[in-house]
């Protein structure tokens, strides 16, 4: 899955004398491969996973409100169960349980469902924050249930949820290296493979870490500002 690359720059393994720990030529040579894995796999999983989680989370949050008590109880505990068990084990269940399935697809499904349980809590808080008078008004206007949700409740509930959803998307992004265990060639796995081929781990692992930092920190700042602006608008 990960091509063995012929490296030209300094194939000598890092020996432990501190002068040999970091090699710029080597770092520059391996950078494109790591960046490619980042764009092609890490970002892809984050985007697809976030879309699934955001939609499924909303469905869960609504179901928790509209289902009859016993069913809602079961659903709530199912969501708790998924939320409180390791993503790694969930990935492994599907990886060995559905051997016919492509590991990347398993990644989409597991990340989508796992984070949907988190996002459903965000939506739940958003739905709870819609004033009671709004519900009563829809009753007074004898709106159908579907119309009430689509036109009144969800538009008001969604506004305040966006920053929290963004924060969970960042969390998911930083969890994508867990795909390592089901041998998806995401960024950290590519970095580790380069390290194993050349016995030089420092450059590859550090580059992977810095790419994470470079992507997640500005996004977090942006979400922070959005949060402040929304709070101000309210």
């Amino acid at each position: 899955m990960i091509p063995v690359m012929p490296f030209t720059a300094d194939p000598a393994p890092a020996t432990g004398s501190t002068g040999n720990v970091w090699n710029w030529d080597f770092a520059i040579e391996i950078f494109p491969a790591i960046l490619r894995a980042f764009i092609e796999v890490t970002l892809l999983v984050t985007v697809v996973g976030t879309v699934i989680a955001a939609l499924l989370g909303l469905v869960i949050a609504i179901l928790l409100r509209v289902l009859p008590r016993p069913l809602a109880f079961v659903l709530r505990w199912a969501a708790n169960f998924i939320r409180m068990t390791p993503l790694v084990v969930q990935l492994l269940v599907l990886y060995y349980g559905f051997t016919w399935m492509d590991p990347l697809t398993i990644g989409f499904i597991v990340f989508g469902i796992h984070y949907a349980t988190y996002m459903s809590e965000v939506y739940r808080a958003g739905i709870d924050s819609v004033p009671k008078g709004q519900w009563e008004a829809t009753k007074a206007l004898s709106m159908s249930a579907g119309r009430t949700w689509r036109r009144v409740v969800i538009p008001q509930a969604l506004r305040s949820t966006i920053p929290s959803l963004g924060n969970y998307a960042i969390s998911m992004f930083k969890d994508t290296p867990f795909l390592f265990v089901i041998s998806v060639a995401e960024m950290v796995r590519v970095a580790q493979t380069i390290g194993a081929q050349t016995f030089r781990y420092t450059e590859a692992i550090t580059i992977a870490g810095l790419i994470f930092l470079a992507a997640s920190y500005p996004t977090a700042l942006l979400i922070n500002r959005l949060e402040k602006r929304l709070a101000y608008a309210n």
Partner: protein
């Protein structure tokens, strides 16, 4: 009854694997608790530094927090495992590697919780400590931290569950934890039986125990601040009475 026979075999394998799985589970428990202890120490230190009005304390804390929050847990695990030895810091056991990686990663997240809860302690409390000219340690230890502690427990409980879930990845640096033993069990049974049935339920039970333990800590912390019932009152079967104020209709 092919399926039943299969399950019977699975449970037999589970019985044979019992002691190993239990050892692995205990290792996961140790990894989680020690990782959490280290994370808590780091969180308190970085949180206090990050909330300080002095820029030369605040800036380094912010950089460290953002660095460890921004890079991923697995990257940090590999860093501790592969790169630290090059600087002459060889950690002989993968257990130590796991504890350090979990500790620094979740410690950085915890630092934010510590800092946020310290700032949400009522400003009158801060002003009062200044008015009484308390020393910094006295003020933090006796006034601010006990109140912040009650506020930060819910977020720390969340992080603790995250830490437990994160500990499942540490087996890839060669630790025979619960997840590793589940993989061994999977080889003789099936993924559904070992990972989904034994594994997820085992992790879930431990996570529930941790959250309940944190809830008790929260009750205790709040009671010590004069809010809410004490643990004994909550656990006792006697009817609950309000802890403060005049009881309705009663002579005092």
């Amino acid at each position: 009854m092919d399926w039943l026979e299969q399950q019977q075999q699975n449970f037999e394998s589970l019985q044979n694997f019992g002691p190993r799985l239990w050892d692995g589970f205990l290792l996961t428990v140790q990894l989680t608790l020690l990782g959490a202890a280290l994370a808590f120490v780091i969180a308190v230190i970085l949180g206090l530094m990050g909330g300080s009005p002095k820029w030369w304390l605040r800036t380094p804390a912010r950089i460290i927090i953002e660095f460890f929050r921004g890079t991923s847990l697995l990257v940090q695990l590999f860093w501790v495992y592969y790169v630290l030895p090059l600087f002459g810091l060889t950690l002989e056991s993968p257990f130590t590697v796991g504890v350090i990686a979990l500790g620094v990663n979740y410690g950085a997240y915890g630092a934010e919780a510590v800092r946020a809860s310290m700032t949400s302690v009522a400003s009158g409390q801060w002003e009062a400590t200044v008015a009484l000219s308390m020393s910094w340690t006295h003020k933090i230890r006796r006034v601010i931290f006990p109140q912040a502690w009650a506020l930060m427990i819910p977020s720390l409980a969340n992080l603790l569950v995250h830490l437990l879930k994160g500990s499942a990845i540490v087996y890839i640096v060669g630790l025979n934890d619960f997840n590793f033993e589940l993989d061994q069990l999977r080889r003789v049974t099936s993924a559904w039986f070992s990972y989904a049935f034994v594994g997820l339920i085992g992790y879930f039970a431990f996570a529930l125990a941790l959250t309940q333990g944190m809830r008790l800590l929260e009750i205790r912390a709040k009671h010590r601040l004069g809010q809410g019932l004490s643990m004994r009152e909550i656990l006792s079967p006697a009817p609950k009475v309000p802890t403060s104020g005049i009881q309705p209709g009663g002579a005092s």
